[in-house]
Amino acid sequence: MSASALTITNARLLDPASGRDEIGAIHLEDGRIAAIGADAAPKPTSSRETFDAGGLCLAPGLVDLRVKTGEPGEEHRETVATASAAALAGGVTTIVLMPDTQPVIDDVALVKYLHAPNPDPHATPVTTRIEVAGALTLGLEGEAMAEIGLMREAGAALFTNGDEPVTNPTVLKRTMAYAASQDVLVACRPDTRQLRGSGVMNAGAFAARLGLSGIPSEAEWIGAARDLMLAEVTGCRLLLDQVSTPRTLDLLADAKARGLPVYTTVAAHHLYFNEGDVGDYLTYCKVNPPFRTESDRLALIEAVKSGLIDAVVSAHDPQPPETKRLPIAEASFGAAGLETSLAALLSLVHAGHLSLLEALRPLTSGPADLIGKPQGRLAPGAPADLVLFDPAAPWKCTREALRSRSTNSPFDGRLLQGRVERTLLAGHTAFQRPTN
């Protein structure tokens, strides 16, 4: 049985919230961080365990604001349990579940059914902390407001219309106004459905050569501009969910400069892949928004570095072979991502784009702050959710080795550098990489 007190010594402590990057020890008690730092001494406790981290990196467990499972309704894609296993293997300790399930999470009872912010770390198997994104509109149909206030009281962390924008601006405006008075965070996919049409990949020369219909950038800008303006009119706290183009970032920077409470996420795979990776009609690279051009990708990385992007999400969307093993135009959108977010960001560190702290901020304190949670930081009193990783370890991502029930990862076959060795949830080891 594990002790309720644990000390990890000789770790490279990385805390983006405070800027800490030093070798030292961290002391955990009763599921929380008790003391931290090079010279912090533990309180004497008879049951205290200690282990030497061997100089590996120790960071707050990752907080992922956009995770889909198939539960309830499509458990053949993924369950909360299988998603949890994948998350913990990827160093993710808090996941926010999207409401587009069957039935849609637009009801207090469904929020309560899924919401598990403090799971038992002794359970077998252990699950991550589960937060829930409530549906913004009933059935995600974009016509009638869902019970935002009651779901907030039931624990919903934010509200979203899922993959689809709310097309009707009057509905969105009223819903934002109501959400503002409930002081909730509203996440919108910046998108214009009619401009996206039946597009498959980024619009442009590459799509034209492949004979595929394109998703133009302006589908995103126009949607983003509208959503930002409605947020300004209503005072709503708005999260632009997964931006993919620099022009959207310009709109966002302008809104932020005017003091509006607007934020954005980018999916980890958009920082790693570009449209060229669709290559030979790879359906695992079919995502919405699509992988854009290389210059777009570099602009997104720059925005992570500058702090304009508040959070990086996995956009984990498990799709089974029957929806992916199809001609690309007929295949579903979506990529599994829980196990590769950290490696994707570490690749940017190795490429010299980001420092370790710059890469970790949008994975930890950035998203935790957006949903007002105490995790995501190495601070006394914070939940002892930690990820121990070797930033240099090389590995090959193969779909057979992924823990997710659906293994539609665009990283399949890729050589990556940096992997999770151990994940702690509430002070207990929830994942440990098997030794080969």
Binding site: M145, E147, G149, T170, A177, Y178, A180
Partner: protein
Amino acid sequence: MSAAPRAAFDHPHLLGLQSLHRLDIETILDLADHYASLARENRRGPAVLKNKTVINLFFENSTRTMSSFEIAAKRLGADVINMPVDSSSVKKGETLIDTAMTLNAMKPDVIVIRHSASGGVKLLSRKVDCAVINAGDGTHEHPTQGLLDTLTIRRNKGRIEGLTVTICGDVVHSRVARSTTYALHQLGARVRLCGPRTLLPADARDWGAETVTADFEKGLKNADVVMMLRLQLERMNGAYLPSRREYFHFYGLTRARLAMAAPDAIVMHPGPMNRGVEIESAIADGPTSVITEQVEMGVAIRMAVLDLLAGSNTDTTASTGNGAGAKP
């Protein structure tokens, strides 16, 4: 018998309260108070509308308001013709102005009009030669309701000046909220308007409200009067609100919430009520409720307005009684 308290009322119509002076409002309230006292004593005043014709022209259904005007006019001795929309010519394609011209040609003395369009009553008033009383136009004004609310408060609290009155609900679509706020503000009350952001108007401070808030419990604090507005249930369809139960959860008047108001707070509602949506039944029927008194004051207010606009004072018996409710 006590004399009706009379003061000059120099207006041809009663279209709204926004444009009325404090003294005009007090004149109506004082006279209405007199009529209310007479009614409680089961007495009738002089038939100041004898041989006069009052037409109730209602383009929107309202049994309550039309009955109230009808009773008021009849108590003053008038001949009353009710013209609800079903039997009017509107359905045959006649325009609003044609209807007005036709009625005007019949030489009525007062036309009481309810219309679903804001400004509709004002338009008609320009086309006729008699007095027009607005019985509710769209989401604009409902002056007799605002006056009866004010009178009910004054009779229960003895004053208006300095009182805190919280009005909660669908403010943006409410002609009652507008008229009542104008009147209470004119008489020196502090009005707080509460409701979900989607149902609060952008300019509510300009109405004279001291506070406009989406936080009902904050708005209730130490209120002397709590007035709940009727929630139109079709608001659920326009993305104004999520559901009845969420509305009740945040904006329904419950006993726990009422306890946040002043200990002697009174509860009002213009009716008809949605029990369990904006108000708990126990409160609607409870000792703090003055909802039925509002209905009673409605008749008195309408008598006073009809009298001031069209009454003949020639047969008023002069005596030196104390004018009920008359203030120095």
